[in-house]
């Protein structure tokens, strides 16, 4: 099986919850430094797909490769795999009982075995880069939603992942806080981070994505460069979906 040096390769990925097949055969190849945006209605399988890639949810069928290594193999060390894949959630999921600095340094210290001093200096570097240096000693509840989400992104980055998965990271934010988080993601894309982004921000997807995938009922119905998808979608369901988005004033 050749993976052609793809950062991420999905082969016929299926995911079934009790009765419902949420993913029905996803094939996707993501090149290093590529930014993929997953669009589609709620329930189309975007979040589930990201959770499968991160091994939070086991796939029911199919295979996933990260840099040529099959991560869905039975005997694989999941903790080792996850080190290379960062994920950021819609609801931030920061640890409320820890300061921002501790949130960021926990995994580098406990998983990578970094010393406290080394982990903290690296964390401060990242926090400074994303404008959060002064929030390091604060608890998450004292931060705005945008700051919390940026802290969550920093927390994932502190593990130095090869791939970042972003699961509707702006959906829980007040509109005026969305931009600061999108700017962070834009900076990540410019720095060459390989990313798979599930998003409802179509304008953002158009700007940032190398490729946009439209998910519908657990399959990728249409994919291509953003200009093609947003300007001249071929599939009727894609057209309908984008029509609704335009009517809602979100594109």
């Amino acid at each position: 099986m050749s993976t052609n040096g793809a950062a991420l390769l999905l082969e016929d990925v299926h995911k079934t919850y009790v009765q419902e097949e949420v993913l029905r055969g996803i094939d996707l190849e993501v090149a290093t430094h590529e930014v993929i945006c997953l669009i589609g209605a709620s329930g189309s399988g975007k979040s589930t797909l990201l959770k499968c890639i991160n091994l939070i949810e086991p796939v029911t069928q199919g295979r996933i490769f990260v840099q040529g290594e099959e991560i869905t193999a039975k005997d694989v060390d999941q903790n080792r795999i996850r080190r290379n894949i960062g994920i950021v959630f819609q609801a931030f999921n920061l640890f409320p009982h820890m300061t921002v600095l501790k949130n960021v340094t926990l995994a580098p210290r406990k998983v990578l075995g970094l010393s406290k001093a080394k982990a903290e200096s690296e964390a401060m570097e990242l926090l400074t880069r994303f404008g959060l240096a002064d929030k390091a000693p604060e608890y998450p509840d004292r931060l705005s939603g945008g700051q919390q989400q940026r802290a969550a992104i920093v927390r994932a980055l502190a593990m130095q992942p090869k791939i970042m998965l972003l699961d509707e990271v702006t959906s829980a934010l007040d509109p005026e806080l969305v931009a600061e988080v999108l700017n962070v993601i834009r900076e990540l894309a410019e720095s060459g981070m390989t990313m798979v982004i599930a998003t409802h921000e179509m304008g953002f997807a158009r700007d940032i994505a190398n490729r946009v995938c439209f998910l519908d009922a657990g399959v990728i119905l249409e994919q291509g460069p953003p200009e093609a998808i947003f300007s001249s979608p071929q599939n009727r369901r894609t057209q309908q979906f984008l029509q609704r988005i335009i009517e809602a004033g979100r594109l």
Partner: protein, 241 residues
């Protein structure tokens, strides 16, 4: 109370200032045993109960028998009245005529009985706390490559235990009071000393003294816990400032 026909008799029997003073030193001697029982048992309970709760939360089919054992333990020792466990341990273990098991002091048997029963209660308190931590916290920790134990230790338990401090205190107070029950196997504690005092003087004020000692221990502990919880909340919650 003052209007009851026997109010005067009651006052003389239970609330005599004179007997209060006279019985206090004797009851205090016994009460020190209650404090020792409670401290030793509580330390054991907090540790053993946590272990049981963690076992119940272990993932995977391989540890299924262990989980069953943990469930059986809580079911059994929550179900049997403490007084019966006290008898079974305090009278039963010596009767076995085993080497170490059957040659302990009544104090040790008291601690064992209290620990057996309260560990079952407290394990359930811990479990409720662990299950109250939202799954998204576990997902976040696991996605950062933390192992099951690291997730428990650094993410789940710190949040879970904070939430169950009030019910933990509740059981701790229950344990304090139930130390009086081990008098039944011959441990000389506050209630037993009060009984001795009453059998000599025909006055029950010693029991009142014991009650005062118990309350004097409980109330400051409750206020201290309130303080701990408030301090924690102040630290973590937004103040609007």
């Amino acid at each position: 109370m003052a209007v009851a026909p026997g109010a005067k008799n009651f006052r003389n029997a239970f609330l005599s200032p004179e007997h209060f003073k006279k019985s206090a030193p004797q009851v205090w001697t016994g009460f020190q045993t209650n404090i020792k029982l409670m401290l030793v048992a509580e330390v054991l309970v907090l540790a053993i109960a946590l272990l049981i709760a963690l076992i119940r939360n272990l993932p995977g089919a391989a540890v299924f028998p262990l989980r069953i054992l943990a469930i059986a333990y809580t079911d059994i020792f929550r179900g049997i009245p403490l007084i019966l466990v006290v008898f079974m341990v305090g009278l039963g273990l010596p009767a076995l005529q085993l080497k170490v098991v059957s040659t302990q002091s009544v104090f040790v048997y008291g601690v064992v009985a209290l620990t057996l029963v309260y560990s079952a209660y407290v394990a359930e308190v811990y479990r409720a706390g662990i299950e109250s931590v939202h799954g998204s916290q576990v997902a976040a920790a696991r996605s950062l490559s933390l192992s099951h134990w690291q997730t428990m230790r650094h993410v789940v338990l710190p949040q879970a235990i904070r939430r169950v401090i009030p019910p933990l205190l509740n059981d701790f107070i229950g344990l304090q009071k139930d130390t009086a029950l081990v008098a039944l196997i011959g441990v000389v504690e506050a209630g037993r000393e009060a009984q001795d005092y009453s059998s000599v003087t025909f006055n029950f004020t010693g029991y009142t003294v014991a009650a005062v000692f118990f309350i004097a221990l409980t109330i400051p502990l409750a206020r201290f816990t309130d303080y701990l919880i408030r301090r924690d909340q102040r630290r973590m919650r937004a103040t609007g400032g």
